[in-house]
Amino acid sequence: MITDALTIVLTGTGLIFFVAGTVGLLRFPDTHSRLHALTKADNLGLGLVIAGLMVQVPSPLDAGKLVLVWALAILAAGTTAQLVARSALKKGQSAPDDEGMQ
Amino acid sequence: MPSSLALTAIIGAPLLGFFMTIVWSRAAAVVASLTSMVVLVAAVFLAVSVSAHGAVLTSLGGWDAPLGIELAADGLSVMFMIVSGAIVLVVGAYAQHEFVHPGTETRSGFAFWPLMLVLLAALNGIFVSRDFFNLYVCFELLTLSAVAMVTLNGKTESITAALRYLLFALLGSILYLLGAVLLYAQFGSLDMGVIGQSVSSSGAEILAAGLMTAGLALKTALFPFHGWLPPAHSGAPPPASAMLSSLVPKASYFITIRLWFDVMPELAGNPLTLALGGLGGAAILYGSLQAIVQTRLKMVVAYSTVAQLGYLFIVFPLAGGDSAAQPWSAGAWTGGMLHALSHALAKSAMFLCAGLFIISARTDDLEALRGIAQTMPMTAFAFTLAAISLLGLPPSGGFIAKYLMLTSAFASGGWIWAFLILAGGLLAALYLYRPVRIMLSLPKQPGQPFKPISRWWQVAPLVLALGAVFLGIGSNEPYALLQIGRPVAAETGL
């Protein structure tokens, strides 16, 4: 019973972070601040959901998979934030311009 | 059971050859010729065992339909395999001069041989398969190798032609796939035999059959969808376009025949047969008129393919008709099949001749070929022989095919179809007479001399052209073979 309550709390907060990240993505004025919102949602939102599920998982192998998913998500979020930010920094010259607005 | 070994060889051998020519590209030409010889021998052996004991059926992996995939070789598939095996063998011999580059490996020298063998494997796969999804994978294999062949000479217009061909072919296979999926949803199986037994004209089957026919018509370049064929077949190198024009569209036509005559004859009502026949007739007229106005030899030959493919779809209204058993539909069906075979032989011969003319005259322009017969008598003779078969003049195979279709047209009272068949022959005479006249006329003022071509190289198209003629002279063998496993619907009409 306790584990279910724990799961509900953790996964619930995880959702809230996702919502926060999305609202941030929509409301913030420029690319870099949106990037900030995105990484929040990635790390914490998913991290909390995974933490919530850790107690539900039957076998240690599945628990290991959950941790691995979280580690990969963090690695991917970090790398993407870096690369996309630098690419956006040189915005204009190199980013392929949108084709004509028909 | 040796006949199942032959069935294994006609698919396994070309695939094995495909792998070897990729790794061992130095000896690719030799491996390709040996493999196509083995395949031809296997096909002939299969023909002998089919004519002796009737159709051969094997379940792959020992799993019977509907779970496993079944392969079956009847008279029709064996005839198509012998003709395509022979064409690929001769084209392979022809290509020894063009795609064998001494020294370091070149792009086209590497690519031609594996593509040729996988094309042969895909064709044989289609001619013997009894499973609709397996047919889908086979003709995706066929399409990708055909598209790759069109890009072999690397010119800009061939790349564009290959791209347009790929788009049309992908649309065709997607529609076919949707049809196959709906058949599985309705019958719980993809096997022709299982589906054939429980056909009841429900909505799913009509939609599925319609989609599959539309997809296959797209891939056979039937009239409104023919746009991709002429540029692709004239852009490809001659040995490639010889195989593309004579065999690749026939494969999807073959599946259409299996679909309508073997699996769902009851469903083929008047709307379908008249539509296909009408489009076929339009293809004959449009293709022939376009061929008359072309200035390049390969375009004339390519548009003639569009026209001759139209004949194949006239088989549907001729063998159709909803009244009681029609004695003439057997003749129409066999006539259509013989036409497909004789066209394959004649068209591949023509493209090889065109290839030799281009090498000798260094241009594809018709006017520049004036008087080429004097330096290349054998090829000019081969071209004329092939033209005779396309026109349907006796004693060629084309004549037998047209004769059978004409008698069925008159017997069934379908005078429109008879008119179209005759008009097609007349128009073919128009667009084929012009190149022959130019070749045989006196050369204009001694312009650039034609480059002499070695005798051995000129034998290749001659062999194929003679094949087309002998298909007419010795036609009782093929006729008898085609009757084995001929669908009942070809007897009693769609």
Partner: protein
Amino acid sequence: MIDSLFDLVLCALIIFVAFAAVSGRDLFTAIVFFIVYGLMVAIAWLRLEAIDVALAEAAIGAGLTGVLLLGAYGRFKNIDAARMGSWVPLPVLIVIALAATGLSAAVGVVLIALDPNGLGLIPAVNANIAQSGVFNPVTAVLLNFRAYDTLLESIVLVVALVGVWTLADNSAWGQRVGKTQSVRANGVLQSFGRTLPPIGLMIGIYFVWAGSSQPGGAFQGGTILAAVGLLSAMAGLFPPPRVNDARLRLSVIAGPILFLAVAIAGTAWGGMFVLPADLAYGLILAIEIVLALSIAITLMLLVLGPPEMTETPQ
């Protein structure tokens, strides 16, 4: 009730994303929507309890196809906007829209009229799975019941590769496959290219190994190994192989040729593609492992593209 709500929301999302991908304002937006679309369809496969397909869709739909399209998009930079294509004129657009809606409606009507408890080949697969040598029914169908389709499919991959290589310049033959990457040493991309592959390799091998008893197998594992290989190639960790490298060609055909050899050897036990019940598991596992390696290398080469003249990177 909540399950149907989830299905409805997911399907609405899939249709919106597909509509956006097809009619997006510009090409880049369309490609990004297509990547998200692949992810959504992978979730739909989970709802249809087709985990093997979800794996394939996730690895190929959301992974490789997205990178393929982005790579081509990157090459369109020197094409001026006038020749980037446009919508067909309005009347034609309307006709196409009507035809497409008609086809969708027809398929929809047929689906609604289908027998609601059609079993398809579920009974046949369950009856024969014991002799197939594996427990995962999808792997049993792929590598035993319909092994011929799977063999031809692996050959379609190799033919596509030969077709892609045929698009090279004559002068570029013999060069390295694809364009040489110019990546900053030990930059973010290169360090990412060093950290991810070991994990990816482990996961790829896990999927190939697990394929016989649970979702996974040669194609899913091979696709993941291809993605890992591509990432290290794009991170400039190793120069891509030359097109006429004999070892490369051997590795490309190793899987399919082993598969064909086993299939032909089957004639000794009664016919092509026959796998004797006791040897079936071992043969299938061997085929899956070698096939996964060949598929990984072939997919990597397909995405890298034809060999190009090594112009000096500016």
